[in-house]
């Protein structure tokens, strides 16, 4: 097995996903110890241009009409022989809707270990991954002689994975892709929302701790008093207590408000990655160990139902004054 770190570049509808740069930064850190190269693998159709700002020693570009969009089958069929043949030390994939779809299948087919939800790679071959909604970190040494890793954002900076000059690109012939059993029919655009939460300056965001749909009204009242908008973490949306357009997180929107008031949100990594650009985060939660308190500027450990109505009344009074 070699010493190179391979990074499977993720892109969607003509845009390289931020996690790709995070992975390139992590790969660079890793090869400082192994002495290998950082190799980006870019699969696409007329997508070679997406390689221009990738910070990689080499880009392997695979062109095929069936690679225009992400199809798990197609990606796996292309990556399998490529990894087998080149035998890198490590292959990095996003712990995302793209990378996590193919990591398992590749791990089984290549009989390679898989380290998932990894947030940090170190030059001595150590990794740190996060589990239990970010409450526990797990550290180990990357299995020898080769391994697959799925990465989450957190430690490595995407700016470190960007290059000013275009990298060297090598064309790689794809294998036959006739036998695919998965095909893209179409994209469905998000429903037109009443508000664009990524542009709102004041967000009152509710999580599982809000307990039921009726209690969302308490947050609505507070939002109204503050001239803000109510948003939510995944559990609230999955219960259909708020529209999907209000979802903040990995599968929803990234937000950057002046105020992000998180009520009953524990702060799972999938949520946290979408709120780090907020100017001020205030967290209200009953669990003193909630990871959201490590990100928030101000925190209140309290039963939210004791506080929200009092706070709403005081905000109304202050604004009326």
């Amino acid at each position: 097995m070699g010493a190179d770190a391979y990074v499977v570049i993720e892109h969607l509808r003509g845009q390289v996903a931020d996690i790709s740069y995070v992975m390139l930064a992590a790969a660079r850190e890793l090869v400082q110890g192994s002495g290998g190269k950082v190799v980006a693998i870019l699969l696409g159709h007329k997508a070679k241009d997406l390689s221009t700002d990738l910070s990689a020693d080499e880009v392997l570009y695979v062109e095929h009409a069936d690679l225009q969009d992400f199809i798990p089958d197609a990606y796996q069929a292309v990556l399998l022989p490529l990894i087998k043949q080149n035998q890198p030390r490590v292959v990095l994939l996003g712990n995302t809707t793209i990378g996590a779809d193919i990591a398992g299948g590749l791990s089984v087919a290549l009989d390679l270990p898989l380290v998932s939800s990894c947030r940090q790679l170190m030059s001595d071959g150590k990794f740190v991954c996060q589990i239990c909604g970010g409450k526990i970190l797990a550290e180990g040494n990357l299995p020898e002689p080769a391994t697959l890793v799925t990465m989450t954002p957190g430690v490595h900076r995407s700016d470190d994975g960007k290059a000013a000059a275009p990298p060297h690109v090598t064309d790689v012939q794809p294998p036959a892709l006739e036998a695919l059993r998965t095909h893209l029919s179409k994209y469905i655009e998000p429903e037109a929302a009443d508000v664009d939460i990524s542009k709102e300056p004041v967000l009152i965001s509710v999580g599982r701790g809000i307990q039921n749909k009726d209690n969302v009204e308490l947050a609505e009242d507070l939002a109204k008093a503050l001239g803000g908008v109510v948003t939510a973490s995944r559990p609230v949306i999955d219960q259909s207590w708020l529209a999907t357009s209000r979802l903040v997180g990995k599968s929803g929107k990234h937000v950057k408000p002046k105020l992000y008031l998180a009520i009953g949100i524990s702060g799972a990594p999938e949520h946290v990655e979408a709120i780090t650009d907020s100017e001020t985060i205030i967290a209200i939660n009953q669990d003193p160990a909630a990871p959201i308190f490590d990100l928030a500027k101000y925190g209140v450990e309290i039963d939210m139902f004791e506080l929200i109505e009092v706070l709403t009344a005081k905000v109304k009074a202050a604004r009326g004054a």
């Binding site: 779809d101 791990s107 970190l137 219960q239 979802l247 929803g252 205030i282 309290i302 706070l311």
Partner: protein, 254 residues
């Protein structure tokens, strides 16, 4: 249509988590276990598929304490067959080993669709569903929040960031990783679950676990030591609310 749903229990994150004496594993001796959230959605989606397109739903899970309740609840919702993997515990296994164990039982069922939760919060070596697809040699699509069937083809709605959905056609048999069911997991009354306990049987399968070679090794687990922590506001609700109003004023929101 033959639908298999694989599920597992995970520690409830509401409870305090601790690490055992080895320093490399969660101490689960006092943990409360609940069904993994996305597995619960997978069960719901399986039942919805049966209601809309007909067929049989089989729930398969390792033999952890509390799994019987999950299975009988699934039966009360409409699951037809319940299969428990005796002698194995999800808390003690890697995702690879669990997927390997599921693969043997699932392949016997010859399912059209296998549903699994897209991820569990304690996965250290990938999600069970994607690995299971690998062991079964089936295609896999994850982060799915809706499935429909037509002319023997499955149409799945795969979620991307910012609310974008990709509609994919998948030729069964296939494994689908469920992010969210099309409707929240339904509530069933305790009386219905009790009824299901009397009318349904949990089939037991004895399995010998072979730890898959691809399981990874963890040397140490620890709780994150954050670089910063929020300034905590204390006092009565009234006092805290006043302090918050002050802060909101300072940052220019009021």
């Amino acid at each position: 249509m033959n639908i298999a749903v694989v599920a597992k229990l995970v520690p409830d994150l509401v409870e305090e988590l601790s690490i055992d004496a080895s320093g490399a594993k969660l101490d689960t001796s006092f943990a409360r276990f609940i069904v993994s959230e996305s597995d619960d959605h997978a069960i719901e989606e399986g039942i919805l598929l049966k209601e809309r397109f007909g067929g049989q739903v089989t729930i398969i899970a390792p033999d952890d304490e509390g799994i019987d309740d999950v299975m009988y609840t699934a039966a009360a919702k409409g699951a037809d067959r319940l299969m428990k993997l005796k002698g194995i515990s999800a808390a003690e296994m890697s995702s690879h080993a669990l997927a390997r164990a599921f693969a043997d039982v699932v392949s016997e069922l010859k399912p059209d669709l296998v549903l699994a939760g897209v991820q569990a919060h304690n996965d250290l070596d990938g999600s069970v569903g994607s690995l299971l697809a690998g062991f079964l040699g089936m295609p896999y699509v994850g982060y799915v929040s809706g499935i429909s069937m037509q002319d023997g083809q499955a149409t799945v709605r795969k979620e991307y960031p910012a609310g974008l959905i990709a509609e994919l056609q998948v030729t069964p048999p296939a494994v689908v990783g469920i992010q969210a069911a099309e409707q929240p997991p339904r509530y069933v009354a305790v009386s219905k679950v009790r009824q299901a306990m009397k009318s349904s049987t949990i089939e037991e399968r004895a399995l010998t676990v072979v730890e898959a070679p691809a399981a990874q090794h963890i040397d140490r687990m620890f709780k994150p030591e954050p670089a910063q922590h929020a300034t905590m506001l204390a006092g009565t609700p009234d006092e805290i609310a006043s302090k918050l109003v002050e802060i909101l004023r300072e940052i220019g929101v009021i």
